[in-house]
């Protein structure tokens, strides 16, 4: 397999093209008429038609089969929020009403049962008429995919690909029987979901564990080639830029394929975990996005492999701390088995295999500001107390998740066949079929709030430069009229991220208030689990634009702090000081959240292991380490044509640097770099 050639093909791809077969098939399906009104029936009928229409395309030395035909689109498209563009009248609406995908699929079940076997389970479980009807839709969907796989098998035979032909006559309808058929099965389903029915961010979950039963030591070379092919495939679907930037006129502008590797419960699968990292090195592209689980007991071989990956894959790698996350998830209400097998289902959303969690972002700095300017707030104590009350209200009135209406029409989404609970309950995820409903509350801008509280304390109570009300008026007026004080507070007052006890304590207080407001909802009043997360993805810009100045010297409209990071440029004491500060956050109470760290040059792998180990021993939960040299980034901005393959990773997404919008490029430059 010529990886270099495949890479070149990817970078030469015309991103104005769309999935031409798919759009044509939808067009024809709609034009034929007799489109069922019920979403589930419409979906399956459209799927059946599409599975007969997609070309079984094979290019170059494709090993694992399954690719979408792309070309200029003559069809009318409409924007799907959070999901790129789709055909007008698209019979495959995104799940969750907002964005499709963002779930991880139970591929272990796919490999064990096949879609046919899963449909049979649903048929056996179906008791009510509705369930029986739903199971019949699942059966039709399984058969439709089977037909598509058979057409691919024919094409494989014609091109002498006997192994693929044999596999595709069996999977994904039937169980997998070896490593090749297993990966082939997973890929075809992953591609149909991402490109044909159209969603984005379908996570692979713990594929090292899932594929381990098919591992044979003597076949390692072959397995590595199969995994390399899978890693390449992940980059074929969707564009190389994200919805931050250019949009592709296809479903899944930037589908992310998250891959959780290693950690507790995966000890026996270490050979597969290591092979996946090797494949990622061979491909060296933004996808898939490896996330690596780590505990203090993880073997050194794994830790060193992770250190190498996190430095050499242009930082496309995040670490997760098992020793913190597993107990947290159990305490939050996960069953032990789910907690042990935690994975991620998008961005930075921790989840269990075969599940989709809802999520949303709280404008917590906006709430803090509204509290600060409340009439009954007149000192730090009353500010803190009022913020607690308001934060509780904010969490409880959160619109992050729609309630399911049992009276609603029956839905059907293919992905439900790979979600826990939907098979047993014979009920779609959109009708509340999953075995647990969880909502992740992303709490943003905690460093901005912490720095603000610390600044109020210093200016009003320690330095006694002005009264609480005077400072509040100044902040309200965007610090106009007192540039000296503004400068002093903004640039000289101590900031979170420098291992300064007083400021870190305030940031921790802010984070605890936000996190506790979410956790208190898990007291039995609600029918779903509420998971606090200290994470902002890239919304710190958007959220900052909406609000006025903050007491830490941030001016109106400026970005708030990102995820668990300090305000950019304010951590000046080096990475160890930064990690000491961040470790003061209530990591033991949260279920997600991330810290981005950029270092200027590569370190010995042993040193990275020591750094991560120590941070995790201090209680840290997640770290995304990026090795990015400022000069390289500047050169890439000046001569983008020479840096087409420079990838960058930030907690939650992975990008080709030169395709990012300018403000994101600048942010990567501004992100505190740790000189070594």
């Amino acid at each position: 397999m010529d990886v270099q050639k495949a890479r070149e093909r990817l970078f030469a791809k015309d991103e104005t093209f769309g999935y031409i077969d798919r759009e044509r098939a939808i067009d024809e399906f709609l034009a034929k008429g007799n489109v069922p009104e019920n979403q589930g029936e419409r979906y399956v009928a459209a799927l059946e038609y599409m599975m007969t229409q997609l070309s079984p395309l094979i290019i170059g030395d494709d090993l694992i089969l399954g690719r979408m035909a792309e070309g200029p689109l003559p069809y009318e498209l409409e924007y799907v929020p959070g999901n790129g563009f789709s055909h007008v009248g698209n019979p495959f609406p995104p799940t969750g009403g907002r964005d499709g995908g963002h779930m991880n699929l139970n591929y272990a079940s796919l490999l064990e049962n096949g879609l046919g076997g899963i449909a049979a389970k649903m048929e056996a479980n179906a008791k009510t008429d509705t369930q029986k009807k739903y199971a019949s839709l699942a059966r039709r969907a399984a058969e439709a995919v089977r037909g598509y796989a058979a057409r691919y098998a024919d094409e494989a035979e014609k091109t002498g690909r006997d192994r693929a032909a044999k596999a595709l006559r069996q999977v994904p309808y039937g169980p997998a029987y070896d490593m090749f058929s297993a990966v082939q099965s997973i890929w075809l389903v992953q591609m149909i979901l991402s490109c044909a029915t159209g969603g984005r961010d379908f996570a692979f979950s713990r594929l090292d564990v899932v594929l381990m039963p098919f591992y044979k030591k003597e076949e390692e070379d072959d397995i590595l080639e199969i995994l390399t092919a899978l890693c390449l495939k992940c980059n074929e679907i969707g564009g190389l830029s994200s919805d931050l930037s250019d949009r592709m006129p296809i479903p899944c502008t930037s589908t992310n394929n998250y891959l959780m590797l290693g950690g507790k419960g995966a000890e026996h699968a270490l050979p597969m975990s290591l092979l996946f990292l090797k494949a990622a090195h061979a491909v060296h592209l933004p996808q898939p996005i490896p996330a690596m689980r780590m505990s203090k007991d993880s073997p050194m071989e794994w830790k060193l492999a992770c250190a190498k990956a996190s430095q050499e894959l242009d930082g496309q790698v995040a670490y997760y701390n098992d020793d913190v996350l597993i107990p947290n998830l159990i305490e939050l209400g996960y069953p032990e088995e789910y907690a042990l097998n935690y994975t991620m289902s998008g961005c930075n959303r921790v989840d269990y295999p075969g599940h989709r969690s809802a999520d949303g972002y709280h404008n917590t700095v906006g709430l803090f500001l509204r509290t600060y300017h409340q009439e009954d707030v007149h000192d730090l104590d009353s500010l803190i107390e009022a913020f607690k009350v308001n934060m509780k209200w904010e969490a409880e009135t959160f619109e992050g998740c729609q309630l399911f209406d049992p009276e609603e029409d029956m839905h059907f989404f293919l992905e439900s066949m790979l979600l826990r609970g939907c098979v047993e309950n014979v009920c779609d995820l959109e009708n509340g079929g999953q075995d647990m409903q969880t909502v992740v509350h992303n709490l943003t801008g905690m460093a901005t709030i912490g720095n603000s509280l610390a600044a109020i304390e210093k200016a009003v109570y320690i330095d006694k430069l002005l009264t609480f009300d005077e400072l509040r008026d100044l902040v309200k007026n965007n610090f106009e009229g007192n540039p000296e004080l503004h400068q002093l507070i903004r640039n000289r007052y101590p900031k979170y991220g420098n291992d300064i006890e007083r400021v870190d304590r305030w940031t921790s207080i802010a984070a605890n208030i936000m996190v506790d407001a979410v956790r208190q909802m898990n007291d039995g009043r609600y029918d779903r689990l509420h998971i606090p997360s200290l994470y902002s993805l890239f919304f710190h810009h958007e959220l900052g634009e909406m609000i006025g100045a903050t007491p830490d010297g941030r001016l109106a409209g400026e970005a708030i702090s990102e995820s668990q990071s300090p305000t950019y440029g304010t951590d000046k004491e080096g990475i160890t000081a930064l990690l000491q500060s961040v470790s003061q956050l209530p990591h033991n109470k949260i279920g997600c959240g991330g810290l981005n760290v950029r270092i200027e040059k590569k370190l010995p792998d042993e040193m990275v292991v020591a750094l991560v180990d120590t941070y995790f021993a201090l209680g840290g939960m997640n770290m995304c380490l990026t090795v990015l040299n400022r000069d390289t980034l500047l050169a890439a901005m000046e001569h983008p044509e020479e840096y087409q393959t420079l990838c960058v990773r930030i907690v939650g997404y992975s990008e080709v640097f030169v395709r990012l919008p300018d403000y994101m490029k600048q942010e990567l430059l501004d992100r505190t770099a740790v000189a070594v």
Partner: protein, 296 residues
């Protein structure tokens, strides 16, 4: 015991093994032409102004009571004659373009700050390093700090030129010396560093005899000491001194030029070595000694 330091650098990865914190002391009797920390040569405080970070906002002009800052045609002019080193302009500069280099600290206070990163030292087999400036120029402070660190069980490195002849007295508390060896020709040594070579070699010998261990750190400066005979002399020195565990060849970098500008001094700029030259010089060393040698 009070000492004068410029800063404590945490997450220091190039000043000894593992993850470390490095204390940079202020004051050095040497005047190496290529010094990468020229702000640490003077033992008294100094005002540093970085013109490339200055955005000409004028806060410093308004703040300084002695007329130390002004702008002429947009250029930041510093008049150091009336500067009383009060640091008010540093406090008011929004862009970190002004820095007052030098602070008086107790050794015990430094220890407290160093201990913050103890978990990182322990996990990486790292520790602390005292550098500068010349730590031996503040002998008593350096000794006390080393003793305090050893009492805490920390791994210690002392980065020194060997000046002053007393390095060997600290062997008990120094796990590893980072011995900066600059020039093997006595006359050139005197010319380029301002001090005699012989006392430094004596000091190295004494440290060797006292059972100390060191990394010999050799800055290779084009046009100054990039000669085969100097590289050979380094190898021969390593053969004579069992204390030398590793020879580190250190390439010249220009960091000192901007910092010298910032304190109102001029520093000569040298060229950079090519990869071929680096390979060659390393081979000259390795041909003559079995001691491990490397570029860092």
């Amino acid at each position: 015991m009070t000492g004068k330091i410029v800063r404590i650098q945490r997450f220091s990865t190039t000043n000894g093994p593992g993850l470390r914190s490095t204390v940079f002391v202020k004051g050095c009797p040497l005047t190496c032409h290529w010094c990468h920390n020229p702000e640490m040569q003077e033992s008294k405080k100094q005002l540093m102004v970085y013109p490339e970070q200055c955005k000409a906002c004028g806060f410093c002009v308004k703040t300084c009571e002695n007329g130390g800052h002004s702008f002429v045609d947009g250029k930041h002019i510093v008049d150091r004659t009336n500067c009383v080193l009060c640091g008010k302009c540093e406090q008011m500069c929004p862009h970190s373009a002004i820095e007052l280099a030098g602070q008086d600290v107790e050794a015990s206070e430094v220890l407290e700050r160093l201990l913050r990163d103890r978990p990182f030292y322990d996990s990486s087999k790292g520790g602390i390093t005292i550098s500068g400036g010349e730590p031996l120029a503040q002998f008593n402070f350096t000794k006390e700090l080393l003793q305090l660190c050893k009492a805490e069980g920390l791994h210690t490195c002392l980065d020194t030129s060997g000046w002053g002849g007393r390095a060997a007295e600290l062997v008990e508390w120094v796990d590893l010396y980072l011995w900066d060896f600059k020039e093997s020709d006595p006359e050139r040594h005197k010319y380029y560093t301002g001090v005699e070579l012989e006392p430094i070699l004596d000091s190295l010998q004494k440290m060797n005899d006292a059972g100390g261990k060191c990394l010999l750190r050799c800055p290779i400066i084009p046009g100054v000491n990039d000669r085969d005979e100097h590289l050979s002399a380094i190898a021969e020195l390593a053969n004579r001194m069992p204390c030398i565990q590793v020879i580190d060849l250190v390439p010249y970098h220009r960091l000192g030029v901007a910092k010298a500008d910032a304190i109102g001094m001029h520093q000569d700029e040298f060229s950079s070595l090519t990869q071929e030259e680096k390979d060659h010089f390393l081979s000259v060393v390795t041909a003559k000694t079995n001691t491990q040698a490397r570029w860092i």
